[in-house]
């Protein structure tokens, strides 16, 4: 019905008493997500919005509520620490919304996650929204619609733009996933694509890439070899100058590689239509899907 989440997803929010953490926890709860606990060290014993118990540690949330998923809204200097804690407590899915996490912190945390078999989404990402199932992060629920299309993106608001257009065209989503634009992220394009390909409910999917790295090229290769479902792509940053970081730490054309043109070429060579404009995504998908 979705990738990475299902009815058994039980959520703890790390940083639930913060401004952003609180706001989005309300939103997640309002969407029916099972947010069973929050964590803020020193706030153990309090209740969030008079209902969700707050603990000092993730371990306590796991012990008392069997949570298996954490959504992290803590400041950058505490983000990696929160990821370690969630993984150590046994969370198998960790969504880190925090922007501005040092890359070296992420390099260090990755093997810890691998050892514990935990999946990280992010950091610096909008998270995941599986319409009708759960919202883990900050994707606005107003624009989504249940349906057969998967969407994975390195971007935030550009994702909303595309989801909005999909929903407006009647193309609902199995899962909308923002993986973030940092150089080192937990769940990659490839991971999402493999999951969408295996998900029986996902009939087609959209990949929103951007300049920097070669994740799109790798995805193209994989899709060519393994994916029969219709896929459409879009790459942001055709006009980005080389050597300049475009907002995301990972969105940079360096040493002449990671350009939008290269990515477009690789995707097209794999038979994946690359929309020129965001508004071309829906028609392109509709066209390829008909075949």
């Amino acid at each position: 019905m979705a990738i990475f989440v299902d009815d058994s997803t039980k959520v703890v929010v790390q940083g639930i008493t913060g401004r952003d953490g609180g706001f989005h926890s309300s939103e997640m709860l309002a969407y029916g997500t099972k947010v069973l606990a929050g964590v803020t060290p020193g706030r153990g014993g309090q209740k969030f919005q008079d209902t969700v118990p707050v603990y000092d540690t993730v371990k306590e949330a796991v012990t008392n509520h069997g949570v298996n998923t954490s959504v992290i809204f803590v400041p950058p200097f505490g983000a990696a620490g929160a990821i370690y804690e969630a993984a150590d407590a046994g969370c198998k899915l960790i969504v880190c919304i925090t922007e501005g996490v040092p890359t070296v912190d992420m390099v260090k945390v990755m093997p810890y996650l691998e050892e514990r078999g935990a999946r990280l989404i992010g950091p610096n990402c909008p998270g995941l929204l599986a319409p009708g199932i759960a919202k883990l992060g900050i994707l606005p629920t107003s624009i989504v619609k249940e349906g057969p299309v998967g969407l994975v993106s390195r971007s935030g608001t550009l994702t909303y733009e595309v989801v909005y257009q999909l929903s407006a065209a009647g193309l609902g989503q199995t899962t909308c996933l923002g993986i973030g634009g940092d150089p080192v992220i937990g769940t990659t394009f490839m991971d999402a694509i493999i999951a969408f390909n295996e998900d029986p409910k996902t009939e087609a999917f959209v990949m929103i890439g951007e300049i920097g790295g070669d994740a799109e090229e790798q995805a193209a290769e994989y899709i060519k070899a393994n994916v029969k479902k219709p896929v459409v792509s879009f790459i942001a940053g055709q006009t980005a100058p080389a050597g300049k970081k475009m907002g995301h730490a990972g969105a940079i054309v360096s040493g002449g590689s990671g350009t939008a043109a290269e990515k477009k070429k690789a995707l097209e060579a794999a038979g994946i239509p690359v929309a020129e404009r965001p508004m071309d995504i829906v028609p392109a998908l509709q066209e390829i899907w008909k075949k």
Partner: protein, 377 residues
């Protein structure tokens, strides 16, 4: 953040890498004084945040004080690919037997630091990578264990297969470079070239280091390494205001929330035949002050003939954003036309607010871009 050679060398020295001494100076007098201090011959090396300094005449070998005087005079103030040389590094010239390349970067695929090394040093490593990738050796470093002795030695022996002493020096240098990389939160660190003298003594005679902006809070002293003069004034203002901004050469100013959407908006300006004046991500905030800062930065560019806002209110509510834009524009004296596209959460309320102003509006991303191009003329 990219830092200068002399700053990178200071970091290297702090982690025990062998770097020849040197002084960064800004006048010919100081250049001469430093040259006398270190003893001739010396190198006079322009300190600019761009490659190709040597080809541009920005790196000179000096055997006499006269040479130093002449070259420092020429190089200070020189323009290298749009970068004005304000500082030169005076450093003792060392005899070079061999030039090698050692570099580290974040490898996105393995999510680890990758060591790259090549016996083809001193030249553009990207060219080597493209033309003869087999001459570049790579080692992925497990952050749990660091660069292990045998991993470093294997690299050292590949680069100097017939000289175990040199191989050992390289191995040690690579291990120190890794510690420097991690401890200084680098995103890239290159020694190109690493040289051996004819006597077989190794030195890092260049340093190219990028530091992770996200980690600056851990290194408050690194803020001083930022070359404010080399920075574009508008990019500097944006950075200080906490905005992601990149100056371009077009005439359509773009204020967008979100980096991906901002890039897509620029691309769309180009698609419709316009020229974006900038990349600017104002983030999720609806704070009027931030909007004011953003507008000031864009308006400082006299080429800008029209400004577009492309805002997708996801978390941020459109009415808040509309209020922010109205408050900002009211507080300023703006001579270029503005057109606003607001969509998402509380879109209707936002639009209603804008309708009471003389700001232009648009329903879609396409429309706002087209209108802005038209307004820019």
């Amino acid at each position: 953040m990219n830092i200068h050679e002399y700053q990178g060398k200071d970091i290297f020295t702090g982690f025990g890498l062998p770097v020849p001494g040197g002084s960064a100076v800004q006048t010919v007098e100081d250049a001469v004084a430093s040259a006398k201090e270190y003893g001739l011959p010396v190198m006079v090396k322009s300190q600019v945040l761009i490659g190709g300094r040597g080809k541009a005449g920005g790196v000179k070998f000096c055997e006499t004080v006269e040479d130093v005087k002449k070259n420092a005079t020429n190089i200070l103030g020189m323009d290298i690919k749009g970068h004005t040389v304000r500082t030169v590094l005076i450093t003792p010239a060392v005899d070079i037997d061999t030039e090698l390349y050692i570099g580290m970067l974040i490898d996105r695929n393995t999510k680890r630091v990758m060591l790259m090394a090549s016996a083809e040093g001193g030249i553009d490593i990207e060219t080597v990578a493209k033309d003869t990738p087999e001459l570049i050796f790579k080692q992925i470093i497990d952050p749990r264990f660091g660069l292990l002795d045998h991993e470093a030695m294997e690299m050292g022996m590949r680069l100097c297969p017939d000289d175990i002493k040199r191989a050992r020096q390289l191995a040690s240098a690579m291990q120190k470079l890794y510690v420097a990389f991690i401890e200084s939160d680098a995103s890239m660190a290159e020694i190109n070239p690493w040289i051996f003298t004819p006597e077989g003594v190794g030195h890092a005679i260049d340093a190219k280091v990028s530091l992770d902006d996200n980690a600056m809070y851990r290194h408050p002293d690194y803020e001083a390494l930022r070359d404010l003069e080399a920075e574009d004034p508008s990019e500097r203002a944006a950075r200080e205001a906490g905005l992601s901004f990149v100056k371009l050469s077009g005439n359509v100013g773009c204020l967008v929330n979100g980096a991906g959407l901002a890039m897509a908006t620029m691309d769309l300006v180009k698609y419709y035949g316009g020229q974006p004046a900038n990349f600017l991500d104002i983030g999720g905030s609806s704070n009027p002050e931030k909007v004011v800062s953003a507008l000031n930065i864009i308006l400082a560019d006299k080429e800008v003939k029209a400004i577009l806002f492309n805002i997708f209110g996801g978390i941020t509510r459109c009415d808040d954003v509309a209020n922010g834009i109205i408050a900002a524009t009211n507080s300023m004296d703006i001579n270029v036309p503005i057109v606003v596209r607001l969509t998402g959460t509380n879109e209707a309320e936002g639009r209603a607010l804008l309708a009471k102003t003389d700001l232009g509006t648009a329903d879609t991303m396409d429309e706002v871009v087209k209108k802005a191009i038209e307004l820019a003329g």
